[in-house]
């Protein structure tokens, strides 16, 4: 439980922060994975894929899924195949481009996802229940800066390349 020993001896604040961020994420993520497995016999990437689809009735193309899930295309194919086999998502032709299609939740997939999402939400709420609403907001905002900074740095990297 002492991942935070990972830091170098000088322990600048940024490093301490990173190690704690990593620890927190791992603690919550490990719990979510375990419960998804135990209660729904599924995995985080599968849940993630369905979550990406949940908000779009028309579905998403493979490359959109790949980008949003931050994994390469081949993996999305594999996860999609599994979910298609189980009747939870389906591939739908895109008119105007016969190479592509959209993946979308089936009614059954949507129903199951709603149930999973309700549970998932409860786990997450419990994980952060120690924080006041103001603290939650503050944390969210600070992490937003970090995310935004990272995104911008990568855009610059692409432009320079």
């Amino acid at each position: 439980m002492d991942l935070e020993a990972r830091g170098h001896s000088e322990h600048p604040e940024a490093l301490r922060l990173w190690l704690r961020l990593l620890t927190c994420t791992q603690l919550v993520e490990k719990q979510v994975r375990t419960q998804l497995r135990e209660q729904f016999d599924t995995t985080l990437p599968r849940f993630d894929l369905m979550a990406q689809l949940e908000r779009s009735v028309e579905g998403l193309k493979m490359n959109e899924l790949s980008r949003r899930m931050m994994v390469t295309g081949g993996n999305v194919t594999g996860i999609t195949d599994q979910l298609v086999t189980e009747g939870l998502v389906e591939r739908v032709d895109v008119e105007g481009d016969r190479r592509a299609y959209r993946v979308r939740l089936t009614p059954r997939g949507r129903k199951l996802f709603d149930e999973m999402a309700r549970q998932h939400e409860a786990w997450i709420v419990a994980a952060f229940e120690t924080l006041s609403p103001r603290e939650v907001e503050s944390l969210h905002k600070l992490l937003g800066k970090v995310k935004h900074h990272h995104t911008q740095r990568n855009e610059n990297k692409l432009e320079t390349a």
Copy 2:
């Protein structure tokens, strides 16, 4: 890059926070993994194991490593084996218990780790450079509450079981 779409339609604040936390961690972690691979031909768990050893001259027992790295024993054996093969760590007998031993960095391992840690620190500092010292401190403190809460919840779970 839009992992944050994973949330359920109601989007309570805790869920938004979790998704953002996960996104930030993944962004930084992915970059660290890539650079460890490219610059040092190593992986995050290997770096992590060496980092755990860095601060203890006498080394750590396998079960201590396992607990700190939050993974089960068999995996620590595997990673340790690799590092032993490369001459970066060594197994040392513990006097008084012939079942156990300590794993510790070799001089060569320590030298290499120092170099890696210096680079690693620079990557992390850059990832959070957008935050002021006060913001870093604030984030660290808020995450400390989350970590502490999780730890306590788990202790209660064990007592109840």
